[in-house]
Amino acid sequence: MIKSLKVLQHPLADSENQLEVLGNSLLNQQPTFKQKLEQNGVHPLRASGIDVLQLNLGKMCNQTCKHCHVDAGPDRKEIMDRSTMQWCLDVLQKTDINIVDLTGGAPELNPDFRWFVEQIRNLGKQVMVRCNLTIILANKRFHDLPDFFKKHQVEVVSSLPGFTQDRTDRQRGEGVFENSIKALQMLNQVGYGQIGSGLILNLVYNPAGAFLPPSQTALEKEYKIELSSRYGIVFNQLFAITNMPISRYLDYLLSSGNYNRYMDKLISAFNPASVQNLMCRNTLSVGWDGFLYDCDFNQMLDLKVAERRVQHISEFNLDILKNRATVVNQHCFGCTAGEGSSCGGSLLN
């Protein structure tokens, strides 16, 4: 089993070391993200509201993907507890935040996952689960997840970095592709991705290497043809996501000698048109321990929201947070390169 950076006591398991590496890129006379925002008249970048509450239910995962920005894996024990979940529910009850995006790790491994989904749905909020697919087959107790998702009208978002075994397994581990295909077929069988079912199944592509994703539109078209013809699989949308130069992917970039070239590529592909749609402008990210961040990536770099009065979900204050200035760093170039990138894919489509 591949171990997480944390268990390996790798220097990059420490967010400060990651930030130091990102900061060192300035020695190569690369512009800062802040400078780019200033040049385009959008600094400081501010939230325009909070439409999405993205919750990390824990870093435990049945997979150890090479590019994982969470450094998740079977050896990670951090799990959101029920009291933190309750704080999140209180916030949802008191606000108009309508979309809850559950992520991890594998969020389904949280022992309170199903209870939490039911509570959120009871509040009438939409639930989106970032399901790695293989969890459905990982243990008998997860085989009914497609039915559970269907019962609660949960939107499923799943990674599949290729429609061939080679690319997928290279990034996500041996055997992942085969099990992902089986899981997608199980989701299709209960109606996910089928026209008229109302059950949304979106896939995520991210590059298996040191490069940017190709056009989301072209890729989605190709995925639909290939997955349908090869495996009879249907889905709704494909989100093409850029890999962020943090955590395990940063380790890959450095150890493969691709780091400087990748950062140059991200910076030279800076697209000002993507800035207004950045996900940090309408999303609030909550860590497994309840701390608040502008996005999932800032969470992994331990860059909490700048408002010191409200850095934990127990201190949530919509008036303060809805128009907060967001915390930016060099990794943000990953969200503004080319078509732009977010947890919902390209920012320009």
């Binding site: 290729g162 061939t164 080679d166 690319r167 590059p207 290497g209 490069f211 940017l212 994703p213 190709p214 056009s215 072209a218 890729l219 190709e222």
Partner: protein
């Protein structure tokens, strides 16, 4: 001048050719951009053709650019190598088919 003819860094300076002749460069890059758009052939298919042609014309800049582009667009290593073999077969065939010309000449002058 560098003491060698090819520099990897020069690939990113391709656009600089406009410094000496802007109008023609602009026309060329506009044309280039149009050629590689999705049309009757997809941008992905065109990328693989470009990779094969890059090898046939033995342009290191083009090989660099289209090895990346074709891989990024989703072609596998095996598919890309097959494209190079297509280029090789055509180049090899182009040499060999001239053997007929050689044979014609030899037959013409031989007893």
């Amino acid at each position: 001048m560098e003491n060698h003819y090819y520099n990897a860094g020069d690939l990113s300076k391709f656009g600089n050719i406009a410094e000496y002749q802007k109008d023609l460069a602009d026309k060329f890059f506009t044309y280039y951009g149009e050629v590689f758009k999705d049309s009757h052939l997809s941008a992905k298919e065109k990328s693989l053709i470009a990779l094969a042609v890059a090898h046939a014309v033995q342009c290191p800049y083009c090989i660099d650019a289209y090895s990346s582009d074709a891989f990024e667009k989703g072609y596998s290593e095996a598919q890309m190598m097959e494209a190079v073999h297509v280029a090789s077969a055509i180049k090899g065939g182009a040499v060999l088919v001239h053997g007929v010309q050689m044979m014609n000449k030899v037959k013409e002058i031989g007893m």
